[in-house]
């Protein structure tokens, strides 16, 4: 969000309290949504729940195009539309709800760093798995991504998105990685998160802004009912030793279900 728009939005946001009919839009749960988008959506839902703000989830096939920045999920609150976790957190902060107030500067720095770690490593790995691994692409991604559209649009859109993602992977140096290397990176990242969490229930001992972000992917990978690409089951087996983090993800899952 640009700086001017940010200031504008926060000013308007501060004026009104959180309405009851706030909605979150994402793609269709059963047929369309992909791993990375689902994870992002879960993160936002978890965050809002941690802040005790009511939100209704609505699934639309064209959610990606409705979003102001092209990313899902986005929330519709009052007469504003905010997309992506970062801006949503700021928006909610402007309304007066924040989870990170109790953290000191060093902890905030660490929190930001760990959020970037998750974004950098896990999200990229998810994208890689979804779009650059041929088996997954063929079996799951193409089918799911193009499901709401008629032929030939479903194929065209899917290939277009795949090409975009592959370009990005090449730009950041992941283009030449093999699947095993990617899984190794995921493992390292999970280990790091696990070490950081230790035996605490949350990363900074009480809920903070970064927790939903980190738990989302863990939960995503661990929840069996989401259709997981076949290779992700390998990632799941890598997750098993990292019990503190998996346990934390489990807790949040319970919290989220108990709406």
């Amino acid at each position: 969000m640009s700086l001017v728009a940010e200031a504008f939005v926060s000013q308007i946001a501060a004026a009104e309290p959180w309405p009851e009919n706030a909605t979150l839009y994402q793609q269709l749960k059963g047929e369309q949504i992909l791993l990375s988008d689902n994870a992002a959506s879960l993160a936002v839902q978890a965050f809002l729940q941690m802040c005790n703000l009511p939100i209704k989830v609505v699934c639309r096939a064209n959610a990606e195009y409705m979003s102001p920045s092209g990313k899902v999920p986005f929330i519709h609150v009052g007469n504003q539309v905010v997309s992506e976790l970062g801006p949503i957190v700021q928006f909610v902060k402007a309304k007066g709800h924040s989870l990170s107030d109790g953290l000191d500067e060093v902890q905030k720095a660490e929190m930001k760093a760990y959020m970037e770690l998750v974004n950098n490593m896990l999200l990229t790995a998810e994208l890689y798995l979804q779009w650059c691994d041929e088996a997954t692409v063929g079996e799951i991604t193409h089918a799911r991504y193009g499901s709401p559209y008629p032929w030939p649009l479903n194929h065209i859109l899917a290939y277009q998105k795949q090409w975009e993602v592959k370009r990005k992977m090449k730009a950041i140096g992941w283009g030449n990685k093999t699947l095993d290397q990617v899984l190794e990176d995921v493992d390292q990242c999970c280990q790091a998160l696990s070490q950081r969490l230790g035996t605490q229930p949350y990363f900074f001992n009480k809920q903070s802004d970064g927790d939903p972000d980190r738990n989302k992917t863990g939960r995503q990978i661990l929840t069996p009912e989401r259709p997981a690409p076949p290779r992700v089951s390998q990632a799941i087996s890598l997750q098993m030793p990292h019990t503190p983090w998996s346990a934390a993800c489990g807790t949040d899952e319970v919290l989220a279900i108990r709406k």
């Binding site: 640009s2 905030k108 490593m121 390292q188 998160l193």
Partner: protein, 462 residues
């Protein structure tokens, strides 16, 4: 209890803190055959002197030889032994114990010359574990295997830094931290490097690695590990902060050096065009710029690309926040994890040094960075400690070209005005002479004057 061997953090399986693998995509060797007592396997021995002169090594080892309080190895005398220079007879006996002897055998047999083997073993934290220059230490160690030394090809130095490229600088710094005996080739022609890009590491087996993280992984495998003494949590922090750097600072660095027009033309392109040999200097800088711009676009393409300035402001805002965060994390410590440098320090130094040292005409981020005193002190500290001669040479050379340029300023303005006037005069003269413009206003000019004359005459008459 394990005799004789301090636990090799990364390579020892059952360490209490969990096997720490290192940041990013860096992978520590978990090969089962790497046993704690192994001497340096394939790394170059002192027989092949590295390109590094002796003085910084001794200075570094003297300053960096501090016991890390975090992990105390069971063989406590290791720390003590570290401070003792290797005795000649101990070293003398080392030739009798080349590589094949050391792995796995009962530690008791190695106890007689403990300092030698400990020196020889160059465990993690080799910066602390090492003695002086490679020529002095461990003369007999590589007697068994004469492998080729590792060679590092990187961009040469400029702007007061040992290297002008971010990746090369990070790798060089890491190598200095760990005292890895690399033969450093500072070149300006990327086509001369074995992989076509810089930095590139040619290992002792002839393999070429060109991704910076992989280079550092390789160095770790060769037991030059600056992260040896980090706890698992600090290791996790390393990963996190490196991701932060890559997400927030890297786009801005690329933008500052390669996309911002003024900087690019006056600083970056100038340096590269002067450094790269003919005829590559005509097209290589441009090609590099295109690659970087594309990378930047793909990195930040998700944000609204329609407004360049908005995007720029956002990027710089995030970068300023990132710098502030780094500053807060560093606090008043010497390095990020205490008193000895780790791989995170190498990367952070790479980013910050480039921002600080290069003389940028439009350096908004530079101004912000200069305001963060502890980060500036951190950079200068590392620069003076690990790269003393590089920092000293280049500023002197830099000052002289700057002088004449400022002197030319007043003359340049005067010359400009004169040339404009001369041009105008030439144009007017040509126009008159060739008849494009002819002065025919003589008659109407005379008419009012004759009129005035006649009026005057009339007046006179009257």
């Amino acid at each position: 209890m394990r005799l004789g061997g301090p636990p090799r953090g990364p390579c020892s399986g059952p360490s209490p803190a969990g096997p720490w693998r290192g940041p990013g995509r860096v992978q520590i060797c978990e090969s089962p055959q790497s046993r704690p007592g192994r001497t340096r396997p394939a790394s170059p021995g002192p027989a092949a002197p590295s390109g590094l002169p002796a003085s910084p090594q001794s200075r570094r080892s003297a300053s960096a030889r501090r016991a890390r309080p975090t992990t105390l190895p069971p063989f406590g005398s290791r720390l003590w032994c570290r401070r003792r220079p290797p005795s000649p007879e101990a070293l003398g006996s080392a030739p009798c114990s080349p590589a094949p002897r050391s792995p796995a055998p009962p530690r008791g047999s190695l106890l007689p010359p403990p300092p030698a083997t400990l020196w020889a073993r160059r465990g993690g934290g080799a910066a602390r574990g090492r003695a002086e220059a490679p020529g002095e230490v461990l003369p007999g160690q590589r007697a068994g295997k004469m492998a080729a030394p590792m060679e590092l090809y990187c961009w040469s130095g400029g702007w007061g830094l040992p290297s002008v490229d971010l990746d090369s600088l990070a790798v060089l710094t890491y190598a200095r931290f760990t005292g890895a005996p690399l033969k450093v080739h500072k070149i300006t022609n990327p086509w001369q490097s074995p992989s076509g890009t810089l930095p590139a590491l040619r290992t002792s087996h002839g393999e070429v690695i060109s991704v910076p993280h992989k280079i550092i992984t390789h160095l770790r495998k060769e037991k030059y590990n600056a992260d040896y003494d980090l706890s698992a949590r600090q290791g996790a922090d390393t990963l996190a902060f490196m991701s932060l750097l890559e997400e927030k600072l890297l786009p801005v660095l690329i933008h500052t050096f390669w996309v911002d027009t003024k900087n690019y033309v006056e600083v970056t392109r100038k340096w590269y065009a002067e450094a790269i040999p003919f005829p590559l200097n005509f097209f290589l800088p441009g090609r590099m710029q295109r690659q970087f711009m594309e990378r930047l676009q793909l990195l930040c393409g998700e944000h609204s690309p329609e407004n360049e300035e908005e995007l720029e402001k956002e990027l710089y805002q995030e970068a300023r926040e990132c710098l502030t965060l780094l500053s807060q994390r560093l606090g008043s410590q010497k390095f990020f994890f205490g008193d000895a440098p780790a791989s995170l320090d190498a990367f952070v130094f790479g980013y910050l040094a480039l921002l600080l040292q290069a003389k940028l005409p439009s350096g908004k981020l530079q101004a912000h960075l200069r305001g963060l005193q502890n980060l500036c002190a951190y950079c200068t500290h590392i620069l003076s400690l690990y790269f003393p001669w590089d920092g000293a040479d280049v500023p002197l050379a830099r000052q002289t070209p700057v002088g004449p340029e400022t002197e030319e300023e007043p003359y340049r303005r005067r010359n400009q005005i004169l040339s404009v006037l001369a041009g105008l005069a030439a144009m007017v003269g040509y126009a008159l002479l060739s008849g494009i413009v002819s002065i025919q206003r003589a008659t109407p000019a005379r008419a009012p004057s004759t009129q005035s004359l006649s009026i005057a005459e009339e007046d006179e008459d009257e």
